[in-house]
Subunit: 230 residues, 2 copies
């Protein structure tokens, strides 16, 4: 699954294509439109994680799109980066004061834009900027204490959460029950090592809900590991 959903509003076809290519390579899901009105509809339909907005687009001016996005509750907190050929200071200030999070003037390099997008996302949705732990179709938001598989939220008890976190921090690595008790429970817990089995089972049950493939591998006489197969 994509790292983040981006709405790109840009009427210069060549530039748009270039940006789409770059951000897709960065594992973004990019939705592109050239029209301001349509942008608002698209944003409402499926709220994006970030918006790149050209100052001059069809339909509505970029600044008006920005203002309307900010006014609507669902999209009020979506970060917006303005793209423009107008390098005038007054325009830049106006853009920022309208509610844009950043303002980039053409010509710019795609790599710098990627860096700026990352900087904004890091701030707004840390889970989207690499703060999240992922493995295969599993993702864990450590800050929000949330786990998803294939986009669906998975409820976990505290111990299962810590257990999965430990696995996600060392994917593929096999851990003995004793080491898991050390790392996940704490150095001084006098818990039966068989108890680990129980929590492994619960974790499996939770993340394999609905017939998904098991991604926890049992290594006989050694322990357990996170492993999607192959």
């Amino acid at each position: 699954m994509a790292r983040a959903r981006m709405l790109l509003v840009e009427d210069d076809a060549a530039l748009a294509e270039l940006l789409v290519w770059h951000f897709k390579r960065e594992d973004f899901e990019v939705i592109h439109t050239i029209d301001g009105e349509e942008a608002l509809l698209l944003a409402r339909e499926k709220v994006p994680d970030i918006v790149l907005l050209d100052w001059m687009v069809e339909g509505l001016s970029g600044i008006e799109v920005c203002r309307r996005l900010r006014r609507s509750p669902e999209t009020a907190n979506v970060p917006i980066i303005m793209l423009t050929a107008r390098g005038e200071e007054a325009d830049r200030i106006r853009g920022l004061e309208t509610g844009a999070d950043d303002y980039v003037t053409k010509p710019f390099s795609p790599r710098e834009l990627v860096a700026r997008v990352s900087a904004v996302l890091r701030r707004v949705r840390p889970a989207l900027a690499g703060e999240a732990l992922t493995y295969a179709d599993l993702e864990m938001d450590t800050v929000g204490h949330k786990v998803r598989r294939g986009g669906e939220v998975i409820p976990l008890g505290p111990t299962e959460f810590r257990l999965l976190k430990h696995f996600l921090e060392h994917p593929g690595h096999v851990f003995s029950r004793e080491r898991l008790l050390d790392s996940v429970w704490g150095h001084d817990s006098d818990i039966e090592s068989r108890t680990v089995d129980v929590h492994i089972r619960r974790l499996r049950k939770a993340i394999n809900e609905g017939g998904r493939p098991d991604i926890i591998r049992t290594v006989r006489s050694a322990g357990y590991a996170l492993d999607a197969g192959n």
Copy 2:
């Protein structure tokens, strides 16, 4: 009281004076130093709301200061804007990837810098930028001490108000009772952590009035978070 506390790390005396003047006019409390080492000490002593950091300063390089600020838990989330004469793309990208929130190349106009600072603050600490805080259909007017949900005004006690404000400033983030006591009550309050539960309950009761969906999530053994689901 000042709107926000700024730490300015800049060794060009003329530029520093200019910036101090501009930001004081914008009602910032500006603390100025020309030295990287001292900047770190000052930042730890009284955590600023935003840092302006010149790339080349005495003592340590700006980029090193940035990295160390990020590494220290108290200052890890303070927004940083890099100022520099080095306009090279590689430098800009490097600055952003180090954890800077924005990167401004000299020469720049003070007015634009003010606008960029405001844009970053609006994002990170909206309350400091005089902005309304919003999340889903909730909105808080920090200046007028008013909270609405779906347009309807919700009456809140002082503690519930501060609590909600803290959540709105860090949406999605799970906070332990201890951290909430620190952030919302104050560092030196020796209050039972159970008390937090009660205020959470009241907050819930108030904002969910009339059968609205609960947007405060309880994370067992971890704390609470503002979370609209999905």
